[in-house]
Symmetry: C2
Subunit: 140 residues, 2 copies
DNA sequence: ATTTAGATTGTAATGATTACATTTTTATTA
DNA sequence: TAATAAAAATGTAATCATTACAATCTAAAT
């Protein structure tokens, strides 16, 4: 999910040195408007109706390009499948072990105190919590 | 990697309600002494010499049991394969995008400021950074 | 209009993980 | 101790996400 609104996705992609093909625009748009953190399969299924020639390989290629250009984050919450997030700002993910739902939360990662040497160049910071979400803990 | 030394792994497993079979003891011991965060395949290959009848299914079963009993953490750093860590204390992982090596670092996760409601029950906290490690950035 | 690079597609292969049934080991009871 | 039951380990086969690669299509450039 992206808080900042991008009015013209084509121009945004261009500004990141990405040629704005139709598929790329629609994939980024879908990811931007997703509250969940969709998998490749979910993105593919959501767009195949509108783009009948879309192939899963294109979704993979496009997402890998977006990651390389740093406009999308890979979220390895699940064991088996990778999820994607168009919100590249610092924030955390909470996964409920019961219902499997993933919640976003704000975290002040910049102020996190670590013993990591200055000579490590950090490109991405992820915070990931697991546990039981309020609605599932109520049921027990 | 586990900082705290466990002198008798069998007793330790028993204390966690895990029957200490030979395979389970050896798998936990291997994980405890690993500086890296081995994959299922790495654990299997490391032990097959010593335990020729060991099956990969057993490694999977055992690790899933350890996770359930909270004595091992799943580390989803890689895209494709899950890694495991016998250090369940709060700490972070840094993965170098160039050489792929994973570094542990200390992080004061408890003091991390988040907007997550109190009604979320947190069982596991993970911090994961990506970037370039000192030895790889020197080379460029 | 032609050429060329880039983007998309489909097929097939790879490789991690799980399902499930069978066998082996360990614990329990008579 | 022997018999029985429960738990653990094993092997095979299946599933499914991901990638490799070659072919086709599209769009930009000359």
């Amino acid at each position: 999910m992206k808080e900042m609104k991008i009015d013209n996705i084509g121009d945004f992609l261009k500004s990141k040195n990405i040629k704005p093909s139709f598929q790329r625009i629609r994939i980024f748009e879908y990811l931007m408007n997703s509250i969940e953190h969709p998998t490749v399969d979910e993105i593919y299924k959501a767009l195949i109706g509108e783009i009948p020639t879309l192939s899963k390989t294109t979704v993979y290629n496009t997402l890998n390009l977006f990651i390389e250009k740093r406009i999308v984050h890979m979220v390895t919450i699940e064991e088996n499948e990778v999820r994607y997030d168009a919100d590249v700002s610092d924030h955390g993910h909470f996964k409920c072990d019961i219902c499997g739902k993933v919640y976003d939360f704000k975290a002040n990662i910049i102020e996190l105190d670590t013993d990591l040497s200055e000579s490590f160049i950090i490109n991405q910071k992820d915070i990931f919590f697991r546990g039981t979400c309020p609605s599932c803990s109520k049921k027990n």
